[in-house]
């Protein structure tokens, strides 16, 4: 595809359930980033991948959040035992490499936890 894609576009879940969010980066981009955007807040960095490894997990809000990337391509962000405060738009971005910080963003997944 021409750009970063994310699925689902919207997800409504009940408190306590687990959710998986998917990101397909631009082909050939080695760096992949996850952000969270809450209403009225700036983009909050969560985690980034260089290839399949995640050198910096410092932004993950709690141990309920995890992410993986396989084959240097698709990434999934998993939130276990969701809480209402997890409700936000989760954005994924990719760049050619970590030192090339021209990041291209996907459309986001809007997560609503009831």
């Amino acid at each position: 595809g021409a750009g970063v894609s994310q699925s689902p576009s919207n997800k409504v879940t009940e408190k306590g359930k687990d959710v998986e969010l998917r990101c397909d980066p631009i082909s050939g981009h080695t760096a992949l980033y996850w952000y969270r955007q809450s209403l009225g807040q700036g983009l909050e960095f969560l985690i980034y991948f260089q290839g399949n490894s995640a050198p910096d997990k410092s932004g993950l809000p709690s141990d309920r959040f995890s992410a993986e990337r396989t084959g240097g391509s698709v990434s999934t962000l998993t939130i276990q035992r969701t809480q209402q405060e997890d409700s936000a738009v989760y954005l994924c971005a990719s760049s050619r490499q970590v030192d090339d910080n021209e990041q291209f963003f996907g459309p986001g997944t809007r997560l609503t936890v009831l």
Binding site: G42, G59, L91, E102, F105
Partner: protein, 110 residues
């Protein structure tokens, strides 16, 4: 603490009324200053990267400038289609990550 602050939070302009958006930053070891545009329901769209004080970049009605403490996004003779949220981000600092401001919501009325 590394921080990026944008002002104003919201700006309403008449079509053709030029103005500037401000992004002030305290990011140690700044490697770049980024501007993005975000439309409702979409991800941010890259506009500019500025790497050093004094640098300027232009794209259509937009011009971005950078000093050692702040960046400006100048909008000349805006059109309604320029309405969006404009995000500024600093790259560098202790964590070598993009640090985003909360954005300026621009509304251009015909």
């Amino acid at each position: 603490e590394d921080q990026v602050t944008q002002s104003p939070e919201a700006l309403r302009l008449q079509e053709g009324e030029s103005s500037s958006l401000n992004c002030s930053y305290t990011v140690s070891g700044l490697r770049g200053l980024f501007w993005y545009r975000q439309d409702p329901g979409k991800g941010p769209e890259f506009l500019f990267t500025l790497y050093s004080a004094g640098e300027e970049k232009e794209k259509e009605r937009l011009k971005a400038t950078l000093t050692k403490k702040e960046s400006f996004l100048h909008i000349t003779a805006p059109k309604p289609e320029d309405s969006a949220t404009y995000l500024c981000a600093g790259w560098g600092g202790a964590t070598n990550k993009l640090i985003f401001g909360t954005g300026t919501l621009l509304a251009v009325q015909p």
